[in-house]
Symmetry: C2
Subunit: 251 residues, 2 copies
DNA sequence: CGTAACATTGAAGTGGCTCAAGGGGAGTGG
DNA sequence: CCACTCCCCTTGAGCCACTTCAATGTTACG
């Protein structure tokens, strides 16, 4: 029999039966990272009733398609995704990689419609909160209100600092920044900040940083030769994170 | 006696007495563009009570400084500003130019503290809504709630599309995109979309697009030679907006 | 085992950067 | 009103980092 992920390989964000691992946000491994982390306990209990858990996506399947009406706010539970749009020249511009606990699709509130694509880079599980339901909850839950505003605002700030990084920095600086950022986000999730698997291809990284995949490959090779990292395909180990951080200009 | 603007030349966003031009949002020239545009009349009336109008800023003066606590949401009433941060290499990365009716400082909700600088590019008048007051209004006004979320979400989308533009496009494409974007935003404000004054320097444009000021100057020169625009210093006239739009990859 | 996607590496080309010099405008003070 | 100055803008020449093009190696997966 085919594994569960194959059922959704057609690229649609199909709804699946709950896997039974987490029955509530309170029992979820991400409770200190995810949306409920900054919410008062009473609001978490109410929010839980609106969350649809246990959806799954195979590697390469779409979570969000451009043009689609916004139906829900998605939160990655495991695995990772990339968000991108197709430029007029036909190549994709990757604006973000989403890790467990991160909200996806925040930019769709503006028009009620998604403008970018989001696809799974590996098998993904995710939760969703229907927008209608979310908007109704915002009426009564002040903590959730603050938290959503905080998330949105944070996304703006992140986008701005990425803009700053693309402005002047060279390929080495950009790649160092990318690795350090990824490392720190993994650390916050209690994963090793120095040794991890890159779920995205060199091409994805390149399109995220405004470079070509060859340059990404070369710079990674250079970092390796200099003893800053170990790389073998998707597996990476940061040997001198401080060197990378100082190159990226992060404290 | 010194003109009024000189009173605030020290760079602080000092509060000034209302100029008396607009006593309410309903009588403001920006009412169809600004925040109240999408608000029900009843909410506009309530919001008006919270808005502090008629503040002024001289060219070059700061509206927001990095590190400052977020005190209010600012909305430009006349003039224009630039928002930027100083990179670790010491040069500034300009993430946005703000026109009348646009909200400034949305990224500060995340930490309650501003992370970027905003300075006036020319004499500016602006309104402010104190955050405490705004948060209290969000409790009771569903329309305002939706509108703030919309603004935040829109800012994310804008930032993402700017990211896409910086990724692969060359200097000509970026500059064309910049001019077309500016033109359209001016048009929405009932100003000429084909003939306007650039309130920002070549250096500011360069830092916004991730180029050098020499390149900006050269590309503008090239557009002029090709008969696409007329430029003389800060004054610009778009002769073939369609050519620019198609180069920028905008419909 | 074969195929296709991914990754590495090399060599040549080029777009934008750097460095440098010169021309204006706008504002200031005499 | 003029002279002075500072900053902004323009233009040129050379260079470098990244891209482009191309070939080869590697891994995963049916």
């Amino acid at each position: 029999m085919a594994p569960a992920e194959c059922l959704v390989e057609n690229g649609n964000a199909e709804q699946r039966a709950p896997l039974g691992a987490e029955l509530s946000c309170s029992s979820c491994a991400l409770k200190y990272i995810c949306l409920p982390a900054r919410l008062p306990a009473c609001e978490v209990r109410i929010l839980e009733g609106a969350v649809k858990r246990g959806h799954a996506l195979a590697a390469g399947a779409s979570l969000i398609r451009a043009g689609q009406r916004m139906q829900a706010l998605y939160v990655i539970q495991s695995g990772s995704t990339k968000g991108y749009r197709i430029t007029t020249q036909g190549d994709e511009s990757v604006h973000a990689f989403y890790l467990p606990g991160e909200a996806v699709g925040l930019e769709a509130f503006a028009e009620g419609r998604h403008v970018c694509e989001v696809v799974a880079l590996e098998p993904v599980r995710y939760c969703m909160i229907p927008v209608r339901r979310l908007e109704r909850l915002l009426e009564t839950l002040p903590g959730l209100r603050r938290e959503i505003v905080r998330l949105l605002s944070q996304a703006i700030e992140d986008a701005q600092s990425r803009h700053a990084g693309m402005g002047c920095a060279g390929a080495r600086e950009r790649l160092a920044g990318f690795l350090v950022d990824l490392s720190r986000r993994l650390e916050r999730r209690a994963l090793s900040p120095t040794q991890f698997r890159l779920s995205m291809s060199r091409r994805d990284i390149a399109h995220h940083l405004g470079l070509t995949l060859e340059t990404v490959s070369r710079v990674l090779g250079a970092f390796k030769r200099e003893g800053w990292i170990e790389v073998r395909l998707r597996h990476i180990k940061l040997l001198q994170p401080e060197a990378l951080a100082s190159l990226a200009g992060v404290t």
